[in-house]
Amino acid sequence: MTQYIIRRLLWLIPVLFFISVVTFALLRAVPGGPFDREKPMPPEVRANLEHYYGLDKPLPQQYLDWVGRIVLHFDFGPSYSSRSRTVNDIFAAHLPVSAQLGVLAILLALLIGLPLGILAALKQNTIWDYLGMGIAVFGVSVPNIVLAPLLILIFALTLGWLPVAGWGTPEKMIMPVVALGMRESAIIARLTRASMLQVIREDYIRTARAKGLAERVVMVRHALKNAFIPVATVLGPMFAALTTGTFVVERIFAIPGLGKFFVTSITNRDYPVVMGTILLYAVFLVLANLAVDITYAFLDPRIRYK
């Protein structure tokens, strides 16, 4: 098991190398640079800036310098558009916010999605099933761009229960978490239902029932545990995507998370920030998937890693 984990962690190295090279190349292939301004600056000033950030060096050299700084000093470089801050500062300030939002949203999604999916599966083809799945499809059908302003209109402006936007206090977290969690809960509900339906037709469930175990015990101890495996599979990427920031929800609710950097760093041509965020996401994804695989081993004794 330990060996397996180490091998998976080593796998990170080629992943990070490859995606950083591709991103670096793509970024530099796109026209526009970090120092294009509305009021054009004299070429000499631009040269000063480019020299200051080492952008006047040959491209391979720039890439190697960047890698070198990360490996030697764990320094992801400066941010061009926020000059008093480094990429490390940005991660330190905004990753916790996004992570908090993401984890809460996933918890909410599980809290809604799992029971809904189980209920729908157990009462298959009844009104509960249709209702549950109707809600689930609705959840994926309404885009956040509409859902978020709608929540603001209803709960802040009309009912006056919650503040419109911001971050830091529990009541400010409610709407963004709901907006983000709805969609994920829909995905989880559908998956849970599908895998529950499959599991309860398996032989061992029939055996358990035949043994005369109470229905509740069969469901909880045998069916649920196994039905959770496919759900766990999507939790990995879902975790990585949500905890590293979500642009739309963070923007509409004015949340100081990492999501905006995935978009604005590209439009600002803030190269170190783009490279940093893309690496961060990759690390999160690989680690989350690893965590999921390890969870498998606990959930399903048939799975053994070598």
Binding site: D36, R37, E44, V45, N48, P149, F253, A254, P256, R269
Partner: protein, 547 residues
């Protein structure tokens, strides 16, 4: 007309409120000492030497004093750190005498304690200017100071000795600037953020992090308390500022909400005290019994214009350009799309800029005239738009610019019968495209750095001294701009600039001025505020009544 009435209404309401409240007690109106504002985005920097954008400058205006300042209403240059200044007869040497009671303060957010460090002196001005110009600082905006002798050479690395730059502290309270050529507008430049005195000690101690709370020294009416990046920023009153006794606000709470509709919802929900009004909400606000009383429209020193690539057919033909300009129904654009009381533009520089003929009744500019537009296009060889080649109109990605582009495209199709392709690019790419390979038509805005025509016509469209993105060269225009810059007689300058504007916007129609910006905001009734025409608000003059 409508605009003035509203303004009158606001003033009347404020006066009434003030009178009613002051009648309650002998001590005058009861005041609250906090205000909640939206900064819009994270300020990219608080270092005056590095600031290039309105957000950073807005905060810097409260933190750092300049030698001079602009009057909120008249936009005249007024003293700030300088008490007076003298200009030599040849107009080359400017000597500023400084007040002695301005001090650097350090504020510790943890203990909430202010520490007086030392007086602000002429040496800080010299240090500040030279720091901005130092190539190692890599300041984007250093070129604004190129009027100072040897500034350009030092900034571009041609000379390395900072002592040769034309700025010098003669003693603690006197600083002298030597210029490359006479410039009547230098009084304004001397107060710009890139020329402000800066504190050497924290800069040397903390490097790029000197502007973080706890590190920073400042000298303005407010000091930095909190800066949670991308989230909020808090300023507190500086009790050691020389005019502190007249400052009412104790605390300015800024949030950084990018989404305009979210910010306005926060205003309606009472989470913000002042907020810009998104275009889509203006009609509703004006019709709302409460919000309409809080609504304000006022001038803002910017112009929206369309540029041409004057070397590219078909817009290399001035008749085509004139036809396009006559076919833009600016008033209808304002009434239906913009809604914020903007004014149709006929000149490049907007009203309020020294030298602009924008409000001169004798200046006949181009305004909407479909018949004339059709005639001009026919004269150019495209009757009813027949045979007119496909042409691209480029704008940078933004809903506002898109709406204007769609309106103008529709109008050109209707009046002239021509098809124009709209394309948008994100900002950085857009700037590079317009700079290197501009399409036939593109949009741009220009806002005053200092309120003088020189900042407009010469710096933008002079064939060699300006950025000249329209790839245009007109010797007569160039000559008028140059002469006006070197002349000190105001009447003569006005005359020359009127001539330049006429060539640019009418005779040659090298650009299409579209509209002059306005500022559209809502203020809660308990906010007593000033409006700075150049945009940098003076919060030391604001008051918030108890509510």
């Amino acid at each position: 007309m409508l605009r003035d009435k509203r303004l009158f209404l606001v003033v009347a309401v404020l006066l009434t409120v003030a009178m009613v409240v002051s009648a309650c007690g002998p001590k005058g109106p009861k005041l609250a000492h906090e205000i909640n504002l939206n900064l819009g985005t994270e300020p990219p920097t608080l270092d005056p030497a590095l600031a290039t954008d309105t957000t950073s400058v807005e905060v810097d205006e409260s933190l750092f004093l300049g030698l001079t300042d602009f009057d909120d209403e008249t936009m005249e240059v007024i003293p700030e750190l300088a008490t007076e200044w003298k200009v030599s007869d040849d107009g080359l040497v400017w000597t500023f005498t400084m007040r002695k009671d301005a001090v650097w303060v350090h504020y510790d957010p943890a203990t909430k304690k202010f520490t007086k460090k030392r007086p602000v002196t002429a040496h800080d001005v010299e240090y500040g200017v030279k720091r901005t110009l130092n190539p190692e600082t890599a300041s984007d905006y250093a070129y604004v100071l190129y009027i100072i002798k040897n500034a350009e050479a030092f900034n571009t690395g041609e000379i390395t000795d900072p002592a040769e730059v034309g700025v010098k502290a003669l003693d603690d309270w006197t600083v002298q600037f030597t210029l490359e050529q006479p410039a009547g507008y230098f009084g304004g430049i001397a107060g710009m953020w890139v020329a402000r005195p800066m504190p050497k000690e924290p800069i040397e101690q903390f490097g790029e992090k000197w502007t973080e709370p706890g590190n920073i020294w400042s000298n303005g009416p407010f000091a930095l308390d909190t800066w949670e990046h991308e989230n909020r920023l808090v300023l507190v009153k500086n009790p050691h500022w020389y005019n502190a006794k007249n400052v009412s606000l104790q605390r300015i709470n800024y949030v950084m909400v990018v989404e305009a509709s979210t910010a306005f919802a926060m205003y309606e929900n009472g989470e913000l005290d002042v907020c810009g009004v998104p275009t889509t909400e203006i009609d509703r606000v004006k019709a709302d019994p409460v919000l309409s009383k809080e609504y304000y429209e006022g001038p803002y020193l910017c112009t929206y214009y369309l540029g041409f690539d004057t070397t590219e057919p078909p817009v290399d033909n001035k008749l085509v350009r004139q036809a396009l300009s006559y076919a833009v129904d600016r008033q209808k654009l304002v009434d239906t799309v913009l809604k914020g009381g903007q004014k149709p533009a006929k000149t490049f520089a907007c009203p309020g800029i020294f030298g602009t003929p924008a409000e001169d009744p004798n200046f006949v500019g181009i305004s909407y005239d479909p018949e004339k537009a059709k005639q001009l296009l026919a004269d150019a060889g495209y009757p009813n738009g027949e045979g007119f080649p496909e042409m691209t109109y480029l704008f940078n990605t933004s809903q506002g610019h898109q709406r204007i582009a769609e309106f103008i495209q529709q109008g050109w199709k209707e009046v002239l019968g021509i098809n124009v392709v709209l394309a948008n690019q994100e900002w950085k790419v857009y700037l590079e495209t317009v700079e290197t390979d501009p399409p036939a038509v593109w949009r741009m805005g220009w806002c005053a750095d200092y309120p003088d025509e020189n900042n407009w016509v010469l710096e933008n469209f002079h064939s060699t001294k300006g950025s000249n993105r329209i790839k245009w060269s007109n010797p007569e225009f160039d000559k008028a701009c140059e002469e006006a810059a070197a002349t000190s007689d105001p009447e003569k300058r006005k005359e020359l600039y009127a001539k330049a504007e006429k060539i640019l916007c009418v005779d040659e129609a090298a650009i299409i001025p579209v509209y002059y910006y306005t500022r559209v905001v809502c203020n809660k009734p308990y906010v007593q505020r000033t409006y700075a025409a150049l945009g940098n608000e003076h919060y030391d003059k604001w008051k918030v009544l108890a509510h």
